[in-house]
């Protein structure tokens, strides 16, 4: 059975190329799909997906399952590579800022929930969203669209976007807080 944590650990331990190939086959098409959902062209999405999985290879030893699930960690790397690619002409250092926060942000000692728990809760909460709420969350998160852009995209009033997103986020928040 596919277990991303085991594969990443194998890469970190011994540079296991078979493990990398399996991880690549699973995640690269998903990263590509996610970026295309976010409006990237197929070529750009492919390039960023490649870069993302190469970063996974390079950073495998830094992966900490207690801090984030594999999917969340890889989504984070994909965001950073997307920033690098989108802003490479202006010599942006923003992805380094994210990496500093992710790598060095101390795990608060009193944070009792594990990343696995957090992900389970996020997953559960997301399935409870209405289709409308899910779409707004998807647009806000995938495409990083501003409220105004989401409103234009869905052809609904700005106020509706704001209230749907606020409702969706507070719904997610309350689900997450149940278990804290």
């Amino acid at each position: 059975m596919f277990d991303a944590n085991v594969l990443i650990a194998a890469i970190a331990r011994s540079g296991d190329r078979a493990a990398f190939a399996e991880l690549f086959d699973h995640f690269a098409p998903r990263v590509k799909g996610l970026l295309m959902r976010g409006g990237a062209s197929a070529e750009l999405a492919e390039e960023i997906a490649q870069e993302t999985l190469l970063s996974v290879w390079r950073k495998a030893a830094m992966f900490d399952p207690a801090k984030a699930s594999a999917s969340t960690w890889i989504a984070t790397i994909a965001r950073n590579r997307r920033i690098d690619v989108a802003r490479r002409e202006i010599r942006s250092r923003l992805s380094q800022v994210y990496e500093i926060l992710d790598d060095e942000g101390p795990q608060p000692p009193d944070e009792t929930i594990s990343a696995a728990e957090r992900d389970t809760r996020v997953r559960a909460a997301m399935t409870k969203l209405s289709a409308d709420q899910y779409r707004v969350v998807e647009l806000a998160f995938l495409e990083g669209l501003s409220h105004q852009d989401v409103a234009t995209h869905l052809a609904i009033p700005l106020g509706t976007v704001k209230s749907r997103l606020r409702l969706a986020l507070s719904h997610l928040r309350s689900k997450l807080e149940d278990l804290r």
């Binding site: 098409p29 998903r30 999405a45 492919e46 984030a68 969340t72 890889i74 942006s92 998160f141 986020l169």
Partner: protein, 207 residues
């Protein structure tokens, strides 16, 4: 550190998805570095992205495994971390900082070079009890307090707090009478400063 003021959800979502202007993102990052709660919320927003990654329809890759690139990667040594300056937010490390320049009595500012940002980013250090120049702006003025505190009509902002001011605000911050204040600021749009100190500051904030 007890934090009273945090970024809005919309701001944190924009930060988590990497779509904020780089200067504004840097000020948010300096706050997140200091605030456990915002760090936790940002992680939740990243977990949502992880969940979206799991649910998305995969799109087949055109090329196969990047075996050739892998070989190249193995030959690259790990990058060295730049030196750390004491008392500086870690997130500022990738950026070049200008020298501290006095811009008035017991006020100094230091430019943060953020290539490609639409905002102007700088650190500001003010002595105890100083009233910062009254000002209005046409864009955002986001501030993370790094040390000390200031106070204005919306409350007291101490180390770690995030001040998310927009064009609606028109305020006159007063610096803590004992501790003074050091903060990191990103501004978009025009700043309209008033008073003698404002006139001194004006050419500097415009860069």
């Amino acid at each position: 550190m007890s934090i009273a003021h945090r970024p809005s959800d919309e701001t944190l979502v924009a930060f988590a998805t990497g779509t904020l202007d780089e200067g504004l993102a840097l000020v948010v990052a300096a706050h997140i570095e200091l605030d456990r709660e915002s760090r936790r919320r940002t992680r939740e927003f990243m977990a949502i992205q992880g969940e979206l990654l799991d649910r998305v329809e995969p799109v087949a890759m055109a090329a196969g495994h990047p075996a050739e690139k892998l070989e190249q990667l193995l030959a690259i040594p790990a990058p060295l971390s730049p030196p750390i300056e004491a008392d500086m937010p870690a997130v500022l490390r990738p950026y070049a900082l200008g020298p501290w320049r006095p811009i008035g009595l017991r006020i100094a500012m230091r430019r943060v070079e953020v290539p490609g940002a639409d905002s102007r980013v700088f650190m500001l250090r003010a002595g105890p009890g100083i009233a910062l120049p009254p000002h209005k702006h046409t864009g955002f003025e986001w501030t993370t307090i790094l040390a000390g505190a200031y106070e204005h009509e919306y409350g007291r902002y101490a180390a770690g707090d995030f001040d998310e001011a927009d064009a609606e605000h028109d305020h006159t911050p007063r610096v803590d009478p004992v501790e003074g204040c050091t903060c990191l600021v990103a501004m978009t749009g025009k700043v309209l400063l008033q008073g003698w100190l404002g006139r001194l500051l004006q050419p500097l904030v415009r860069f």
